[in-house]
């Protein structure tokens, strides 16, 4: 089976975000970069799919040179090969559609049966690339998937997380799945895995090599534009509810919530 995992490198969830003096973007200098946690579920599910059905796992990632580190991590986890798209025209792009067009272009040039992606990247939180890629490829999508079983070698049954429960959906291949926490526990890269990863094929391509026009998929082609960014407004200082006993504090708190905050 030909299995693809789309993967993005993002700032660690521990990152304290800082805004540049112009207020146009964040300061990226001291950031520690990791594989997007939701993409990790995707890579893991891709590996499990290969373990079940055989085949090849290909990682596809867009990002600057630093993204290679996350790609190597995916290879060390057990993926077979990777395609990395890096082009100066992509610096500062905001549209998910441009990225989806690049990924779709690559996927049109390689065989695939099933594609895994994160349910969203935890940096821009757009949650658009997966569905947009599925649309451009003309295949179904199953999003926010936190459970997956194989009915047979060509059909999956998934749990799709919805408000207050889940939708159970069946679909035959080819399909694109976006992964939610709960789907699996991603493995750690083993030391031999890390050694092997260094020799696995990793192809880096720019837009020209893919036959894509920067005016369409690069920053120039963006149809959304970030005008400015800001940190969340600080909350006004709170008060400590005091009292001699826990019971007294509880009574005071209930009263404040009813009479002052008016929320209960």
């Amino acid at each position: 089976m030909e299995i693809v995992a789309l993967m993005k490198q993002v700032p660690d969830t521990e990152t304290q975000i800082k805004v540049n003096p112009q207020g146009t973007w964040i300061i990226e200098d001291d950031i520690k970069w990791i594989m997007n946690p939701y993409c990790e579920f995707g890579v893991e599910e891709a590996l499990r799919t290969k373990e079940k059905h055989g085949g090849t796992v290909t990682i596809v990632s867009i990002g600057p040179a630093r993204a290679v580190e996350a790609i190597r991590t995916a290879l060390a986890m057990g993926a077979d090969k990777a395609i990395h798209v890096d082009d100066p025209a992509l610096v500062g792009t905001t549209d998910s559609l441009g990225k989806a067009r690049i990924l779709a272009k690559i996927l049109q040039s390689i065989p695939f049966d099933i594609i895994f992606a994160g349910k969203q990247a935890i940096d821009d939180d757009m949650a658009q690339v997966g569905p947009a890629v599925a649309e451009l490829l003309g295949i179904p999508q199953l999003t926010f998937v936190n459970g997956l079983e194989w009915i047979d070698g060509r059909t999956v049954r998934v749990n799709r997380q919805v408000e207050g429960g889940s939708q159970v959906i069946e679909c035959s291949l080819p399909v694109l799945i976006t992964c939610q926490k709960g789907l699996n526990e991603p493995r750690y890269a083993s030391l031999p895995g890390i050694m092997k990863a260094k020799k696995k094929p990793l192809e880096t391509k720019n837009l020209a090599a893919l036959g894509l026009d920067p005016a369409q998929v690069g920053k120039e082609g963006d149809t959304t534009e970030i005008l400015r960014v800001e940190l969340p407004p600080p909350r006004k200082p709170g008060k400590i509810v005091d009292g001699e006993t826990p019971e007294e504090k509880a009574a005071k708190l209930a009263k404040l919530l009813r009479e002052e905050a008016k929320v209960i």
Partner: protein, 329 residues
């Protein structure tokens, strides 16, 4: 020329979902500012048309209704076909949906088919010379960006529980327009086997007005019973920190934070949660935050409007009794 605001109304099992009222309300505000028409599209199985006219109470002048067995349960491609068909016929300036499990799945698919970029999960909008500028959180709310849509239709999804609802006008009725759709085989490749309700009748975290949340300080799964009691008394729901979820005390769907759900309730009560940067990102925009924790240095107190520094096992039981008394009044 593109004109008007198109809102995708959302239903489950034939009932309109709360987020739709919020999206219609914001759609009306934008349509009024533009001096243009608010239009809704409603999709569903048998009988859904009977809900269409009433969307007029929320400001929709016309409602496009697609009623078909293929639309009974939400599925990406049949729904995308209808929305795209209506969008092509209507040529709206703006298309809005809720950033729900439906809208987040549908909107990017529709945007890609229409060839436009879109804004996800917006918490505010303004119009600058007719250009829609959305305010949206990034990094789970550690950052807010003001983003302009430069292509038409300008598309966005709206975070649930954020936009205030207008007062519906019971005298208003929408003109109902039936949509005839021809589905193709490729639209129908996914089969919905069932819809499992798992929240025990409590509202979903993303829609709840009140959330009572527990962390590592809860010490074990059995102790969440008292948080459930408190949540039920308040008509709310129960959340958890990543620590409590990873310990297996609560299901993953309860997790609040950067790798869980981002929530905006009126009241968030954090019990035994120290407040990691990821957790604070996920609940920091709650309208009122209460923290109950015995560690006075816990970072959660920096976000809290009301802090109780004490053992939660001694505070929560009397708090339940106090709330019970208030509710009985």
């Amino acid at each position: 020329m593109a004109t008007g605001v198109l809102v995708v109304a959302e239903q489950r099992n034939g009932a309109i979902r709360k987020v739709s009222w919020e999206v219609l309300s914001e759609g009306k505000r934008l349509a009024d500012q533009l001096g243009e028409e608010l239009v809704a599209v409603l999709m569903g199985g048998d009988g859904i048309s009977s809900h269409a006219e009433a969307l007029g109470q929320w400001g929709a002048k016309r409602v496009f209704v697609a009623e078909a067995p293929e639309l009974a349960d939400y599925r990406t491609n049949p729904y995308a076909r209808v929305v795209v068909q209506v969008a092509k016929q209507l040529e709206p300036r703006i298309i809005l949906m809720g950033a729900s499990s439906t809208g987040k799945d549908l909107a990017p698919r529709v945007a890609a088919r229409l060839g436009v970029g879109m804004l996800s999960d917006c918490v505010g909008f303004e119009l600058r010379d007719g250009v829609l500028v959305g305010r949206r959180p990034m990094y789970a709310g550690k950052l807010y960006a003001y983003v302009a849509c430069k292509a038409v239709p300008q598309m966005a999804t709206l975070r649930p529980n954020v936009f205030p609802k207008i007062e519906p006008d019971p005298s208003m009725k929408a003109e109902v327009v039936k949509v005839e759709v021809q589905f193709e085989e490729s639209d129908l490749r996914t089969k919905v086997i069932e819809l499992r309700e798992e929240a025990g009748g409590r509202p979903d975290l993303t829609e709840a007005e009140i959330i009572v949340s527990g962390g590592r300080g809860m010490k074990g799964p059995e102790n969440f019973a008292m948080l459930e009691t408190l949540a039920d008394l308040l008509g709310g729901t129960v959340g958890a920190s990543r620590a409590a979820v990873d310990a297996g005390w609560r299901p993953q769907s309860d997790q609040v934070g950067q790798t869980g759900k981002v929530v905006t309730p009126n009241l968030y009560i954090a019990c035994g949660i120290s407040g990691s940067i990821q957790h604070l990102a996920g609940m920091g925009t709650s309208k009122v935050i209460v923290a109950i924790n015995k560690d006075p240095d816990a970072p959660i107190f920096q976000k809290a409007d009301y802090g109780v520094v004490d053992d939660l096992f001694k505070v929560v039981p009397p708090l339940i009794e106090e709330v019970r008394k208030l509710k009985a009044e």
